[in-house]
Amino acid sequence: MSRAALLAAADGEPLIRWDWIGRNLDEIGSLLRDHLIMSIVPVVLGLAVALPAGLACAQWRRLYAPVTAVTSALYALPAIAVFIVLIPFTGLTRTTVMIPLTLYTLSVLIPSVVDGLRSVPEHVRLSAVAMGYGPARRLATVELPIALPVVMSGLRIATVSNISLVSVGALLGQGGLGMLFTDGANRDFTTPIIVGIVLSVALALVADALLLLVQWLLTPWSRAGRGRGARAERRAAAAGHADAAPVEEAAL
């Protein structure tokens, strides 16, 4: 690809025309805003549904098998195909793009909520019971905080995937930054495509970093040990983190 890029440059047509970016800043900004809305709203909706659904699955174990069957089927649904099927109902709108992304978010988040709640050690649960915690208080102050890292890793996967998936909506004319891809391809012009890829990846990385920050803020106990033991602990945490991601992949 780099040789081709060089050839394109030798053609006199540069890979990126900076003046195009300067002239189209407003347009790019509004596409970026669309992109953000279309990728974040499904994550918020998905979380709002996945939390109670995950709690129910953790509570009534018999529910989990059918729910997993549904979520894994949802995960397999190609976004583009779902967009098309929805057109008669919701038209060529943002809603059409956001519905499959919400379903996708659910397929990632429900398993991670259940896995997170299951990761609460039994002795911790029993300790809370022994200390007189009722079910609701135990859930809010003991179980959910312990489940948080696993839920957050699912949330990060859903957010990053959604941000990259939104651009497929461009095939319907609703793709946020994806519009730059179709525009560039139709005009055989690389600048918008590169701008779109760079911004889309940057958006995903920023969102991921923000979610990591939220997790850091919400789990003060994970960085309680400072000083001598801190380094070993960090290393353990890093190892745990490296493990967590693929386990989530497995949950998909």
């Binding site: 497929v168 995903a204 992949e249």
Partner: protein, 230 residues
């Protein structure tokens, strides 16, 4: 609802079942491209994941492992349509520039799941295998790979489904296959064609999903199946 009926009627028109734009031909094309991309992905990612997972000791191995996991998670952020349009705009609408993004997007799940699957094999199992006099290669192929198989199959399934649905999107940059109905239908504003293509792509994705479930049930050692199904 009329639109749905049109789409269903579309399946029963005889024109849909023959010729280069017929469903059998398009399906075959789709399977061919997807199969090719999947084969390349497996050849690239599977051995690499196995070997990297097997080489656990040493600083280099752990650095490479960190790179694999981090890189694969980062690859999720790459927009499919962007890679496809960039590849085609830079080169041509030939098969290779279109297959390249498909492979790029499918390698990470296979690589990460194979790597972690092998790496997370219980150390006791490994020690036992070495104690029985197995060589490194035997440990990898007879112990580590079978134990990691459920996770490896999940990675392969994720990759296969991703390839099938990305191949449909690749019709936008000129690839044949079922995506042609979706893209051409959108362009000509024939909803029935587009919806027919979408339904076929969904069915194909479910078929792939089903194949891998069956494979997981038959290929995974009985001793592991309980944990695999959970």
């Amino acid at each position: 609802m009329n639109a749905i009926w049109d789409a269903i009627r579309w399946f029963f028109q005889s024109a849909q079942w023959s010729g280069p734009d017929g469903i059998p031909h398009r399906l075959l094309e789709h399977l061919e491209y997807s199969g090719l991309a999947f084969a390349i992905t497996v050849v690239l990612a599977l051995p690499l994941g196995l070997v990297l997972g097997h080489q656990r000791r040493g600083r280099l191995a752990s650095a490479l492992g960190f790179l694999v996991v981090g890189g694969a998670n980062g690859a999720r952020a790459l927009p499919t349509l962007g890679l496809l349009t960039l590849a085609v705009t830079l080169t041509s609408s030939d098969l290779v520039p279109i297959l390249l993004p498909l492979v790029v997007l499918a390698v990470p799940p296979v690589l990460v799941n194979t790597y972690t699957g092998v790496q997370q094999v219980e150390p006791g199992l490994r020690d036992a295998a070495e104690g029985m006099g197995m060589t490194g290669r035997q440990v990898l192929l007879k112990v580590e790979a079978p134990v990691a198989l459920p996770l490896i199959l999940l990675g392969l399934r994720t990759a296969a489904i991703q390839i099938v649905s990305t191949a449909a999107i690749a019709a936008f940059v000129g690839l044949g296959g079922l995506g042609r109905y979706i893209i051409d239908g959108l362009k000509r504003q024939e909803y029935a064609t587009t919806a027919g293509g979408a339904i076929l792509v969904i069915l194909l994705a479910f078929a792939v999903q089903l194949c891998f479930s069956v494979l997981a049930r038959t290929a995974v050692s009985p001793g592991l199946r309980r944990s695999a199904s959970s």
